[in-house]
Structures are given as structure tokens and as C-alpha cells.
Symmetry: C2
Subunit: 62 residues, 2 copies
């Protein structure tokens, strides 16, 4: 179970976008997330960093 | 153990960059990778997609 929670950095704070994310795709100016529950989310952002040991992916707005 | 192997897409083929990656940081025009073995790698690329269930992160050159 290696899913990660995805957060977006806003004003220095991490806001949860989607939990249990399995798949992330970088698309034109946005990121598409798909969770282990089949939920999808698209957000205007890019990957800032990720720490798999912490199950955490941080996005930043574009 | 949720580390992933990181590949870069070159001419439609996936070339292995670093195995067992725990941490990825998107820096100015490059990506810094740190593996569970303490190895570090910097590469001029950005995240294209990732599939955590497959333990796979794909980069593309910038």
C-alpha cells in the first residue's frame, strides 16, 4: 500500500487535495490525480516534491 | 517499502535513472532524487507521471 496523500502549497500551508493517490500525470499546465478509490482530480499545479516514505506529494500552483 | 524506481523518457524509451527513490525535489529546471541508500542524483528533467502501485516515476527532459 504505497499510495500517497497529495497536498497543494498555498501561502506556505499544505492543503489536502486527495488521499490515497496511486497515479499522477503531469498534463499541460495541470496535474491529474487518480486515487486507489477511483477518484479523479485535476488541479492547476505542478509537482514540488514528494517523500514516499512519508506517503506525501506536495504540489505548487502554476 | 514504498520507494520507486525513477526513469527518464528518451526517444520514447524509459531509461533507469535511480532505483529505490524515497525523495524527489523539483528544483529550478532540474529534479533532485535521493534514494533509500543515500544516493543522490540531479537531472535536468521534470516529473511526467508516477504510478506508485508500480513503484515507478517517469521523468521527461526539459
Amino acid at each position: 500500500m504505497c499510495e500517497s496523500n497529495v497536498y497543494i502549497l498555498k501561502n506556505g500551508r499544505e492543503e489536502l487535495v486527495l488521499e490515497g493517490v496511486d497515479v499522477l500525470e503531469n498534463q499541460e499546465g495541470q496535474v491529474k490525480l487518480v486515487s486507489m478509490f477511483g477518484e479523479e482530480e485535476k488541479i492547476k499545479a505542478r509537482v514540488k516534491n514528494l517523500s514516499l516514505v512519508d506517503h506525501k506529494i506536495i504540489l505548487e500552483p502554476v
